[in-house]
């Protein structure tokens, strides 16, 4: 479904992504871990099409379509969903109104007929229940005054509503309390199908106990330095990143010799 080949990207002239390769197939869950500042959010931003990143090399394909050629909204309509690490607040714009607009754009793109107000509300209700999102939050202004955890849960509610092909969750678990983490994870598990895929960016092994990944990747210094199965996450939990960093820098110094 998603194919990233040798992706390099700069921000303000500084190279942040230094040759990422990643293949994600339909039905899979991939976890991306890695130390702070290693480029995880940058990768998700580049995939979503944030314009302050400049792609200098490489390719990204989504089901045979060149993602890098598309505007952010086109990528979203093609089915790329990013649950933001820091969702923004938009005062005065009602959550529901916003979702209605988003959904109708996406449905137009997918050649689906517009939803009636009644069907939309019905769907809203179903999805709210699925991810246990409080109705009163759905009716408030978009993220305005939401607590950190409420914002994260709103991202998952939106994900449920928009039914994307590829969901990238950037630290959606951080800021969630223990119950919320379980609830949100259950919600995501319910949303999994053979046709969609999830990329979970996380710092915590705990999330991966709820949503079991098919692959775990470690991103360090703008590169995927190690890939493995869910056991890799356990190993990281135990040992931290130092051993990987050392390995990486050892490799680097050999390369430069």
């Amino acid at each position: 479904m998603l194919s990233i080949k040798n992706l390099h990207a700069n921000i303000e002239g500084k190279e942040i992504l230094k040759g990422i390769n990643l293949e994600v197939n339909a039905g899979e869950v991939h976890a991306i871990m890695g130390p702070n500042g290693s480029g995880k959010s940058s990768l998700s931003s580049v995939l979503a099409g944030r314009e302050n990143y400049e792609v200098t090399e490489g390719e990204v394909w989504l089901d045979g379509k060149n993602l890098l050629d598309m505007k952010p909204e086109e990528r979203a309509r093609e089915g790329v969903f990013l649950a933001f690490q820091y969702p923004v607040e938009i005062p005065g714009v009602s959550n529901i109104n916003f979702l209605r607009t988003a959904l109708s754009e996406i449905r137009i793109h997918r050649n689906l007929p517009p939803l009636s107000a009644k069907d939309f509300l019905k769907m809203t209700k179903e999805k709210q229940e699925l991810v246990e999102f409080e109705a009163k939050l759905a009716n408030r202004s978009l993220n305005q005054g939401f607590s950190g955890g409420e914002k994260k849960r709103n991202e998952v509610f939106q994900l449920a509503m928009l039914d994307p092909k590829l969901s990238i969750l950037d630290e959606t678990d951080s800021g969630l309390d223990i119950d919320a983490l379980r609830i949100v994870s259950n919600g995501i598990n319910k949303l999994r199908t053979a046709d969609n895929a999830f990329v979970l960016i996380t710092h915590y092994q705990r999330l991966l106990e709820y949503i079991v990944p098919d692959f775990v990747h470690v991103l360090y210094n703008g590169q995927i330095v190690r890939s493995g199965t869910k056991e890799l996450a356990l190993e990281l939990e135990e040992k931290g990143y130092d051993w990987l960093k050392e390995e990486y820098h050892g490799q680097e110094s050999i390369n430069t010799k």
Binding site: A48, G49, G92, F98, A102
Partner: protein
């Protein structure tokens, strides 16, 4: 921000939708302004002597006045001698029905989406259309007549209800008020007149669409609304003008009078031609609007959505005379490209326990300049008077400007005045967030702006609110990419 700049450059090309010229024979007075011009207009309209005399007083006051200089922009040179002060479609016989109206004119109205159709009547809108200077058609009149409501052009009111007009005209905005009000007094062409009798609740929104059509004509309409004791009326004013390279002057006067227990809601959606993106052409909108809450427990509220004009100079004001009277001012003013808006309100608390509320939302994009200018004055008898002012500015891009000039004068220490102000910028991250959900940038801006202006838009009657939302988006099209 870099991205904002790019957005700005990319979208700066939305054209004015209502820019077309209607080809109809016009009866136009010669350009220039002198006593004869005033007499010509008065004679054309077969006015009584008292009205001509009053016009003359206005003209003389105009001659003595200077252009105001306190606003936050350089007053453009306006050559009052190069304007024609009267333009009327030639087929001027009274139209008994719409069928008699020049079809060209009707086409224009259709393009403007003026609600004269059957469906709109169902929506309960009675329309008084002012096409340049002469009122063309008033619908729904009979139904209103039965209730004793008078809703007609001011010229008709002068003919049919001279005692009412003479009693109230110029009592809120005197002929000496300011240059533009004096000019309007001298040369006002037409406008609307509303009288709601005691105890009557006007069952529908009354609405006027103004439109400037002829080249080099100023539009000087005069509106007078009187709500007698315990009555209620909601009045809507919409305006559009075709595209012209030259600047056109619009200097209207609106007077509202609310007697004891009466309530007037006055809503404006102003969409005059703003000029092109380089600032060429566009309407100079210099308008004097004032309401007097004469009786106890009376209420007036102004709601305005100002999206058009090259320059907007407008301060709908309120005189809260009656005890317990209250006033509201809700405003959204948008400036894009080279537009300038200097707008706000003045509220004079004279009576005891008077209350006022000001909600102003400025939106600046492109190189637009947006100033809020407000005065709240508490008189010595205004015991326990209260004012709340909220004054917000939203910036799109970094070449525009937002300014606030709130003035407060209190001669009463029992009065409370609260003022809150915020300035914010539409962030690239907000737009990106919405993009990431499949919403393109223009729609994203529209969503954000409508959310920002919601408190004001909610004041508008449903039908108008939808139109105002569209206009906001239209005006800002081209401000973000």
């Amino acid at each position: 921000m870099e991205k904002d700049d790019m957005m700005l450059d990319e979208l700066a090309n939305k054209e004015y939708e209502f820019g077309f010229v209607t080809d109809i024979d016009m009866d136009i007075s010669e350009v220039g302004l002198n006593e004869d011009t005033v007499r010509f207009i008065s004679a054309k309209k077969n006015e009584p002597q008292w009205l001509l005399d009053w016009r003359m007083k206005g003209f003389r006051a105009f001659q003595k006045q200077d252009m105001p200089q306190w606003q936050n922009f350089e007053m453009p040179e306006i050559d009052f001698q190069s304007i024609s002060y009267y333009a009327a479609p030639k087929k001027q016989a009274k139209y008994a029905s719409l069928d008699e109206v020049d079809p060209e004119l009707l086409k224009t109205f259709a393009k403007l989406g003026i609600p004269m159709s059957e469906q709109k009547q169902l929506a309960g809108v009675a329309v008084d259309v002012v096409f340049d200077s002469v009122s063309v058609s008033t619908t729904y009149k009979e139904h209103l007549n039965e209730m004793g409501i008078i809703f007609c052009s001011i010229s008709e009111a002068v003919k049919n209800h001279p005692e009412l007009v003479q009693k109230y005209l110029g009592t809120v905005v005197p002929h000496t008020d300011n240059t533009f009000a004096s000019l309007n007094t001298a040369v006002f062409s037409d406008g609307s007149f509303v009288y709601i009798p005691k105890g009557v609740r006007c069952p529908m929104e009354l609405s006027t669409y103004f439109r400037i059509n002829a080249e080099n004509t100023g539009q000087f309409e005069r509106t007078l609304i009187i709500a007698d004791e315990d009555s209620y009326v909601s009045y809507l004013e919409g305006c559009t003008a075709p595209m012209r390279d030259e600047n056109q002057l619009h200097a209207a006067v609106v007077e509202l009078i609310a007697m004891k227990g009466a309530e007037i809601k006055y809503s404006t959606v102003q969409n005059w031609y703003p000029g092109d993106k380089d600032g060429k052409g566009g309407i100079f909108n210099f308008v004097t609007k004032r309401g007097a809450c004469r009786g106890d427990h009376s209420k007036i509220s102004w709601t305005q959505v100002e999206t058009g004009s090259a320059i907007t100079w407008k301060y709908p004001s309120l005189i809260l005379q009656g005890d317990h009277s209250s006033g509201e001012f809700y405003s959204v003013a948008v400036t894009n490209n080279k537009q300038i808006a200097d707008t706000g309100t003045k509220i004079y608390h004279l009576g005891a326990n008077t209350k006022s509320r000001i909600i102003s939302k400025g939106i600046s994009a492109g190189q637009g300049q947006n100033s809020y200018r407000g005065l709240v004055q508490m008189g010595s008898k205004a015991k326990n008077a209260r004012n709340f002012t909220q004054c917000d500015s939203l910036l799109i891009g970094d070449q525009c400007g937002a300014h606030t000039f709130p003035y407060i004068e209190s001669k009463n220490n029992t009065a409370t005045i609260e003022h809150e102000a915020t300035t914010s910028k539409i962030g690239e991250d907000q737009v990106f967030y919405l993009n990431q959900r499949g919403i393109d940038s223009e729609q994203a801006i529209a969503l954000i702006v409508n959310g920002y202006a919601k408190e004001v838009l909610n004041q508008l009657p449903m039908e108008f609110a939808v139109e105002a939302q569209k206009l906001l988006s239209l005006t800002l099209e081209g401000s973000v990419g």
